[in-house]
Amino acid sequence: MNIADASTAKLRCAHVHRSFRRKNGSMLRAVVDVSLVARPGTVTALVGPDGAGKTTLLRMITALITPDQGSIEVAGLNVVKSPAAVQAMVGYMPQRFGLYEDLTVEENLNLYADLHGVRPGDRAAIYEPLMKMTALAPFMHRLAGRLSGGMKQKLGLACTLVRTPELLVLDEPTVGVDPVSRRELWEIITRLVGDNGLTVLMSTPYLDEADRCDAALVLYEGRVISDGPPKAMRDLAAGRVFRVSPPVGQTPRYMQARLMAQPGIVDAVPEGGQVRCVTATGSQTVNPLANLMPQAAVPRFEDGFMITLPQKPHTDSSANAADHKTPPDKTPVHNSNKNQTSNPAASQDPVVEVHDLVRRFGEFIAVNHVSFTVRRREIFGLLGPNGAGKSTTFRMLCGLLPPTSGTLRVAGVDARRAGAAARQRLGYVAQKFSLYGHLTMAGNLAFFASAYGLHGRKRRERLAWAIEEFGLADYLQILSGAAPGGYKQRLAMACALLHEPELLFLDEPTSGVDPLARREFWQLINTLAECGVTVVVTTHFMEEAEYCDRLIILNNGRILAQGSPAEVRRHATAKGSQPPTMEDAFIAIVEASAAAAGGKA
């Protein structure tokens, strides 16, 4: 940051702090010593998991809350001294887009125009390019609540643009939005910055979005852990990123789990049927992948980010033992009496059979004639954006919601008539890790042990197993509501696994979780599957499909594609040397089905 930057900057934050008092009286340091500068005509990303302090920082910048310390200036104006003037210059789209769902598209626009004092005579001229850009013109009289997630997001953006702001602040505009809408939103932002010289500050949990920005600030627990152009981060990983192909008969995720545990490898993720690895040192030294015929790959922001993170526990387990980012020293062993096989191929034996499943809510068809089969011991993914019908399908599978029509067999039993015996065989981890917040960690474990009828020696054994394998010993007397996020997730998993279920349902387990915890989590799922547990998991991270044996992609209640990750990817064509990603596949399938529908009409 130099003086010239600071004087021309649209936004300048210097050493900003903000704390909140928790209910129990302790202080939560939401934002700690954050400095940032956004130059005119640039896009700056705030990257970080839930609880990193992104929203708190954005709310201070938009003068909705005041910093405890430090100064924030928007276009040279101090936000604390002149909050109203700053708010008049800033366009702010909160999470959930800040729309009034019971008003139409046009009424929402008018409301924002009224709020910003746009004269009625000027409105038509302002709305026209906005509607063209967002393709919302045909829906002017539709209620905002009845728009799809992607359309709501674009309307939210249009509402913040009814008058040209000095600074556009977007809070997680792309979370849970389908890949097509996400791509369109980025096209809009790029155009606004390129044509109108707009300055944009946006928060995102997706590291791949940092690659598209001019600058990226990575926040973790309120602190800036990296700051600068994404290229600097990519350069860190230069010459250290490779792709390796698994040997015949081995799945990429199986190979990924082995590589992740290997010293000298910083990161490994399954991608495009291969495993993408980041090595701890540059290629001039001995490559730990040398005998796997590595192909060099183009580095990304995420690769550099993984290099900057504190290292994995196998290289530094004692120093991080108390840190909740660190995975347990040992991978959890489930059903330890069962043999671990080196080839975790799924059997043909179906555990979940869904045939022609339909669920309506009044006029709205949330799940539209969906059929699929989950085989024993496989990891099965339900992928799709928010509102695709994932959760509705999931709730029907778990017996929490009756289907409108169709058949649904879980573990050989009709899910509608699943009795206590059938439920004893499945485990369920809800979104947001639903636990009793007023009970301690130990209290939650004891409650779920009783709920599953565990008593006597078996109960003591399973509780001891859960405490040890999930590293909960030091947190047992903490109220689970006050525990750090990572520990809530661990506790939720521990509670769901106490009774050794053969089928595990996980609803959005990685939503809002940092990249390291996500990898840790998938490693755990891998281990469980290897021990014979069938896992059904939902996610809106398209790239997580690579961890699944098979998956379905849902959109608007229908199955867009199903099969193994390789089969689904085949829908998209490769871009140059890079194999297509799941996201490419999703976009290709949506475009193909739109073209087919257009052809028929």
């Binding site: 017996g399 929490l400 439920r423 007023h438 709920a451 599953y452 009828g453």
Partner: protein, 371 residues
């Protein structure tokens, strides 16, 4: 074995949830006691210094005696004499007085010659409660006057029939009437609120789904909500009972066993209503509103403040589904009138019916959501 283990786990979890958090611990202890004291003192219909005027057209010794009897009571305050129908109307209209006692011209003569006299009381009916109370006081003064007059004149019967008699509460303390009834009112509110909020909290936090995917059945989950709430309710009723007995010093006439049996069934009915509310509310805010949707009519229709017999016939029929109506009567009957099990049976069976209906309906609604 497993069922029992699971229900015990649910009960302990529920109690821990209520008692571990300081705020929810406060809400089950402080408000009921506070309300007990506030309502016990504030919601009293006792009359003190009620102003009255006299239209004495007779001026005989009997009339003078009656008026001085009234002035001697500390309930009424003599405000003066009026002498025309217009004056009577005026002083009541502008609330100078709340009652005018009219003594007709032939009062003394009728009393001595025929042993029968008639007085008229004109009461400000705008406040029916105080008016009713004032009439009760008046009739008691008249009956006292009657006794003396009959004794002095050796009459075979009372010269003026006292129509209103007050049993069990000879000192006309309405606190005796209200305070025991409050035990029912306050626990009803707490039971509905606790149950509806606890289900809504589990719905909001997603733990209800978590419960439903365990082997626990809807009946177990319902039992897991009923038992801890019932325990809390019995604790609150006991606290309220102690306040009534020892703070307000209202003597307890009946059997504690019978009272607790009745209270237990009433609390179950209240919990049933709470579960009923929870079946159509999704959030804690809706649960709160739903609770008051039921609570306000239940309180008004209970007969605690307005006698049920003075309600319009249609409304009287509606009170038949109000659990508080039976509870208030039941508590009065046991507390003040020492009724036994037979005596309270007419209150007991409707409460059982309400408890069974609401609990079964809620279990069915839980079950239906899943099937």
């Amino acid at each position: 074995m497993n069922v029992l283990l699971r229900i015990i786990a649910l009960v302990l979890k529920e109690l821990a949830t209520v008692f571990k958090e300081p705020r929810s611990r406060m809400t089950i202890i402080v408000p009921p006691l506070l309300q007990m004291f506030v309502f016990g003192y504030a919601a009293s219909f006792d009359l003190h210094q009620a102003r009255f005027a006299v239209w004495d057209q007779d001026h005989g010794p009997a009339a003078t005696q009656l008026i001085s009897d009234m002035r001697a009571s500390n309930v009424f305050l003599y405000a003066g004499e009026v002498s025309s129908p217009a004056a009577v109307r005026r002083c009541i209209d502008n609330k100078k007085v709340m009652m005018v006692l009219e003594i007709p011209a032939e009062f003394q003569r009728n009393l001595t010659s025929r042993g029968n006299g008639r007085v008229e009381a004109i009461v400000d009916g705008r406040n029916s409660n105080t008016a009713g109370t004032a009439l009760i006081y008046l009739s008691s003064i008249i009956s006292e006057f009657n006794n003396q007059w009959r004794a002095a004149n050796h009459l075979p019967r009372a010269p003026v029939d006292a129509v209103v008699r007050a049993w069990y509460n000879p000192e006309f303390e309405s606190r005796w009437d209200i305070v025991p009834g409050l035990i029912g009112l306050l626990t009803l509110l707490q039971m509905i609120l606790l149950t509806a909020m606890s289900v809504a909290r589990e719905r909001e936090q997603g733990t209800l789904d978590q419960l439903l995917v365990t082997p626990m059945g809807p009946l177990e989950i319902i039992a897991g909500k009923c038992v801890p709430t019932l325990l809390i309710g019995l604790g609150q009723a006991t606290a309220a009972l102690l306040v009534a007995r020892f703070w307000f010093g209202i003597p307890f006439a009946g059997s504690y066993g019978v009272l607790y049996l009745g209270l237990g069934i009433f609390l179950l009915a209240s919990i049933g209503v709470g579960l009923f509310v929870s079946t159509f509310t999704a959030t804690m805010q809706q649960a709160m509103l739903g609770t008051f949707l039921f609570m306000v009519p239940f309180a008004i229709l209970s007969g605690l403040t307005t006698p049920i017999t003075s309600m319009p016939p249609l409304v009287q029929h509606i009170t038949l589904i109000d659990p508080l109506r039976y509870a208030v009567t039941l508590i009065h009957e046991v507390y003040l009138q020492a009724y036994g099990l037979n005596g309270i049976w007419p209150q007991l069976w409707p409460l059982m019916l309400i408890a069974a209906a609401t609990l079964l309906w809620s279990s069915w609604a839980f079950w239906r959501k899943l099937n």
